[in-house]
Symmetry: D4
C-alpha cells in the first residue's frame, strides 16, 4: 500500500467518523483545466511529516461570532465594527457597523490579528508593552483592548476584534461576547 493511499484512506476514515467535516482546501477544478491538470497527484509521505492538519472556524461560525459581537454592542447602544481573523491572520469576516467611526474597520481587524498572534486578549497584551514596548512595531498589530482569541484545546484558531466603542474595555466585552457565542446552537 503506497503512502498516498494510506493517507487518503486515513482521510476517508476521518470523514467517515462524521465528527469533523473535511471541507477546507477543496478547490473546484475548473472544467477547462481538467485535462491539463498534473496527472500525478502528490505522493504524500505521512511518515515523513509532509502533511499537517489544522483546525479552523467555518465561515458560518466566524459569522456567528461576529454577529454576536455586533448585537452585544447594539444592545448597549454602541456603534462598532467587527472582524474575525483565522490563525494565519487572514480575515474571515468583517462587519462595518452602522454609524461606526471610519477608524473602527481596520482597528477591528488589527486587534483580532494581534489577539490570534499571541493567543491572548489584547487587553492582556497591552500590559506586555511595559517590558517590550517595540512589540507594537510588528506590522499588522494594534495594542488596544478589543481583541479576543478563539481557542480549541488552548490553542488559538481564530480571534474576534471589535473597535469603535468609547472605551477599549467595552470593545473587548463585545469581542468576548462573540467568542462566547461559538459554543451555542446556531440561530
Amino acid at each position: 500500500m503506497t503512502n498516498t493511499k494510506k493517507f487518503l484512506a486515513a482521510a476517508a476514515a476521518v470523514v467517515a467518523a462524521g465528527t469533523v467535516g473535511v471541507v477546507a482546501a477543496h478547490a473546484a477544478a475548473p472544467a477547462e483545466a481538467a485535462g491539463a491538470a498534473p496527472k500525478a497527484a502528490v505522493a504524500t509521505d505521512p511518515a515523513g511529516g509532509d502533511l499537517n492538519r489544522s483546525t479552523h472556524l467555518s465561515v458560518a461560525a466566524a459569522l456567528k461570532a461576529a454577529r454576536a459581537s455586533l448585537e452585544a454592542a447594539g444592545k448597549e447602544g454602541q456603534k462598532v465594527s467587527v472582524a474575525v481573523v483565522d490563525r494565519n491572520g487572514n480575515t474571515l469576516v468583517t462587519l462595518r457597523g452602522d454609524g461606526a467611526g471610519p477608524q473602527s474597520y481596520v482597528s477591528a481587524e488589527k486587534k483580532a490579528f494581534t489577539a490570534v498572534s499571541w493567543n491572548a486578549p489584547t487587553s492582556v497584551l497591552v500590559g506586555r508593552l511595559s517590558q517590550t514596548p517595540n512589540l507594537k512595531d510588528i506590522p499588522g498589530t494594534l495594542f488596544l483592548p478589543g481583541g479576543a482569541p478563539v481557542q480549541v484545546g488552548g490553542a488559538p484558531v481564530a480571534a474576534v476584534g471589535v473597535a469603535g466603542a468609547p472605551s477599549g474595555d467595552l470593545d473587548e466585552k463585545f469581542a468576548r461576547a462573540g467568542v462566547a457565542a461559538l459554543g451555542k446552537a446556531a440561530e
Copy 2:
C-alpha cells in the same frame, strides 16, 4: 456529554489514529499571560459546523520541495528563485538562488500564489486568459509558467513557484520537480 467534550474526544480519536500529526495551531501561551487568558475555552459545537479541518504541507515538506526545485535548476545551470505558498496564499518558504535576477524572487511567490488559487499549473492558467483576460488583474497573481500546485486527493494544499530561468517552461519544469519530491523519503 457537552459539545466541547465531544469535539475534544473526536480530535483525540483522530490523533490516536496516528496517521496525521495534529501540529498546526498550537501557539505557545506565554507564561506572563497565562493568568489572564480567558478561562472559558471556546465551547465548540461540531454539530453546528463551527470547526473545519484542513491539510497543509509541513514546513519541512515545503522546504524539501523548494530545495528540489532549486537543485533541479542547478543541474541545468539555471539561476532561479523558488517559493512555496500554502492554500491560503501565505508564503511558507522562499529561496533566492545565487545569481538569480532581482525580479525572480517576487515572481516565484506570485506564480505559486496563482497556481494554488486555481489549482492548476500556471502554464495552463495562461491559456485561460484568452477567454478571460482580466483574470490577470487580480492582486497577487502572475500568469507566467513556473507555478505548480501541490495536491492531496485532487485538492490544492500548496504550490511551488519558480522564476528566473530563460523560459517559463524551464521554470515550470523545476517547479514540478519540487512537487514531485514530496512523495519521496526525507533526506
Copy 3:
C-alpha cells in the same frame, strides 16, 4: 428662526414621519472629551446647500445580502468569498467562504467596488472595455463578472461582489442572489 433651528426641525420632521430611521452618523461622544467638545454645533444653512442626505444599506441588510450570496453558492457546491461595499466604495461586509481560493477575498471586494462605481453588473462593464480598455487601470476596479449593484430608485447605494466559482457567470449569479435577498423579510 435661525437656519440651524430650521434644519433640526426639518430633520425631526423626517424622523417623525417614521419612514426612514436617521441612524447614521451618530458617533458616541466619549465622556472624557465632553467638556472640551466645541460648544457651537455647526450652524447649518440648508438653503445654501450645505447638507446632503444619502441612502445606505444598513449593516444588517448588507449582511443579509452577503449571506444569501454565500448560501446560493453553497447550494451549488461552489466555494466563494463575498463582499458588500457602499456607494463610497467602503467595504461593509466580507465573508471568506470555506475552501475558497486565496485570490477570491480581494476579488470579491474589487468586483463590488467596480459595480457600484458604474452602477451596473460587472458582466456588463466588461463589455465596455472593448471601447475604453484603460478603464480597467483605475485603482480599485476589477473587470470580471461577479459584481452586482444594489439600487434604490435606480441609483446605486451599494454592490455585492462574489469570487471563487469556476466561472464569472456563476459568481455573478450568486451576487444577484444576494441583491435579490434585500427585498425579503429578515430571517
Copy 4:
C-alpha cells in the same frame, strides 16, 4: 402596495417636504449600459431596516469651509494646507496652500480623519493618549492639533484639518474658522 413602492413613496414625501435634497447617490447610468442594467431594482424593505439615511456636507459646503480655513491662515501670514473629510473618512476637498511645507498636505488629511473618527478636535484627542497611548497606532490617524469636527445635532458629519503653521494651536484655530464658516451664507 409592495415594499418597493412604499419606500419610493416615502422618499418622494421626504423630497416633497423640500427640506433636504436627495442628491447623493445618483450615479449616471451610462447610455451604453442602460439596456443591460438589471431590470429588477432592489425591492427594499424599510420595515426590516434595510436602508439607513445619513447627512453629509455638500462639496460646496466642504469647499466653503476649506477656503475659510485657508483665508484665516492667510490673514495671519501662515502657509498651510487644508483638507475636509466626510464621516466615512473619505476626503472631500484638499487645498495645498502656497508655500506650505510638503508634510502639510497629508497631515491635514490625517488630522481631519482623526477628528471625525472620535468627534472631537484633535487638540482634545491628543490628551487621551496619556491614558491610551496606542490609539495613535490606528491607521489613518494623526494626533496633532489642527483637526475639528463638523457636527449636525452633535453627531460628526465631516471634519476640517489644517497643517503647516508653526504651531498646532494655530492650525486648529484655522480649522475651527473653516467649521464656523458653514453656518454663514454662501459667498
Copy 5:
C-alpha cells in the same frame, strides 16, 4: 559683491518689477528653532547654475480652475470629481463632487498627473498607446480622456483632471473648462 548678494539683488529686482509675486518657498521659521538654524544661508552661485526658478499656479488659481470644472459638469447634470496637480505631479486641489462614483476621485488625480507629464490632453495621449502601449504601466498615470494641461508659454505648469461623467469626452470637456477659467478675472 558676493554671489549671494548678487542673487538676492536679482530676486529683489524681479519682485520690484511687480509682475509676479515671489510667494513660494517661504516657510515659517518656528521661533524655537531660530537660534539653532544654520547661520550661513546658502551662498548661491548663479553663474554656476545652482538655482532655477519655475512658474506655478497659485492655490487660488488652481481652485478657480477646479471649481470651473465642477460647475461645468453641474450645468450638464454630471457628477464628477476634479483634481489639479502641479508640474511636479503634486496634487494642489481635489474636489469630490456630490454623488460622484468612488472611482472618480483617484481617477481625476491620475488623469491630471498624466496630462502634466506629457503636456497634452489625455485624449491625445490615449492615441499614443497604439504605438507604445506600455506607457500606461508608468506609475501614477491613467490613459483615459479627462486630463488637460495648463500651459504658460507652451510649457506645462499644472493640469486639471476630471472623472465620473458617463464618457471621457465629457470629462475632458469639463477639464478644459477649468483650464479656460484661468484667464478670467477672479470671482
Copy 6:
C-alpha cells in the same frame, strides 16, 4: 494688451534680465501631439494672482551638494547614503554609498524631507518632539540628526540628508558639508 500678453512680456523681461534662467517646466511637446495640443494657451491673469514663481536647486547644484556630503564622509572613513530633496519633498538626487547599510538609503531621503518641511536641521527638530512627540508620526518624516536645509533668503528651497554613519552627529556634519558646497564654484 491682454492679460496673457502682459504675463508673457513680463516673463520675457525676467529672462532678458539674464539673472535667473527660466529653466523649469519646459516639457518637450512631442511631435505627434503638437497638432492636437489645446490651441488656447492659458490666458493668465497676473493681477489675480494666478501664477507664483519659486526658486529651486538645479540638479547640478543638488548633485554638487550630494557629492560634497559623500566626500566629507569618505574622508572620515564613514560609509553613508545621501539624498537631496526639493521644497516640495520630491527627491532630486540619491547616492547609495559603497558599503553603507541598507537602512541608510531611505533614511537619508526621510531626513532631507524632514529638514525641508520645517526649515531646520533635523538635530534641532528632534528637540521639538519633547513638546510635540507626535510630529514624528507625520508620513515621510524621520527625526534623527542628519538632515540640513538649503536656504535662499532664509526660506527652504531644498535639503540634504545623510545616513549610515555611527552617529547622527556625524551624519549631520556631512549633510552640512553638502549644503556648504553650494556657494562654491562648480568643479
Copy 7:
C-alpha cells in the same frame, strides 16, 4: 589552516584560473536577445574604482543557517519563523515554521534586516534606543531581540532573524544557532 584561510586560498585559486569567479551575477542571456545585446561590454577602469567586489552568503549557506535556527527552536518545542537577509537587506531565505503565529514571518525578516543594518544582534540594538529612540522609525527595522549578524572579517554579510518564541531572548538564541551553523560542514 583555518576555514577562513582555506576560503581565501580557494578564492585566490579561482581568480588565478583567470575566470574571476564571476559567480553571482551571471544572468542567463536568453537566446532571442543575444543578437541585440550591447556589443561593447563595459570597459572598466580599475584605476578609477569603477568596480567593487563583495562577499555574500550562498543560498545554500543561508539555508543551512535558517534550518539550524528552525531546528534549534524545534528542540525546545518552540514554533518560530526564520529569515536570512543579505547585506543589502534583500531576503535570501524564509521559513514559516509549523504553528508559528502569523506575526512571526514578517518579524523575522525585519529583525534580520535590523541586525545586518547595524552589524549587531538586535538585543544589543534595542539598548541604543534609550539614547536615540527614533532609530526605530527607520523603515524596515524592528527593534526586538531575535536578529543576529553573520560576519566575515568583522563586517556584516548577512543576518538571521527569528520570531515567534515566547521571548525575544529565545528567538535570539535560535538566531545565533543559525549563525553558528555556518562554520560547520554541510549536512
Copy 8:
C-alpha cells in the same frame, strides 16, 4: 592591454595580496555595541560553498554613468531623469533632471531594474512581450526603451535607466551613453 584585461589583472593582484579587498560590507561597528558583538566570527566552509563573491559598480562609477546620461540628454536639449540600479535591483543613484516630467523619475528606476533583470536593453525586452506578454506584470518592471545593462564579462552588474525624452529611442541612446562612460577615465 584593454581596460577589461587590466581590471582582471588588478583583481587578481588584490586577491594574491591576500587581503581580499573586502571593500563592500564594512559597516561601522558602533562603539557601544562592540563588547556585545558575537565573538565568533563566522567560520566559513569554502568546501561547502558558504560564501560567494560578486562584482558591483562603485557609487563613483554609478554616478559617472548617471552624469554621462544626463549630459548626453542635455546636449540634445532633452529633459530627463536618470537612475542606476545594481544587480540586486537596489537603486544606487538617481538624478531628477531640471524640467523633467514627474513621471520620469520612477520610470528611469524601473527601466534600469528591467534591464538588469534580463541583462538586455529594454528596447530588446519590449520585443519579448509579443511572445510572453505577461512578463510586464512582474513587479518593478517597465517595458519601455531606455534601460541598458552594465556588463562585466557578459554578466549584468548594474543598469542605467533614462526617462523623459519624447521617445524611448532617445532615452535609450542616453542610457547607453551612460554605460559607455564607464570605461573612460574619471573626470
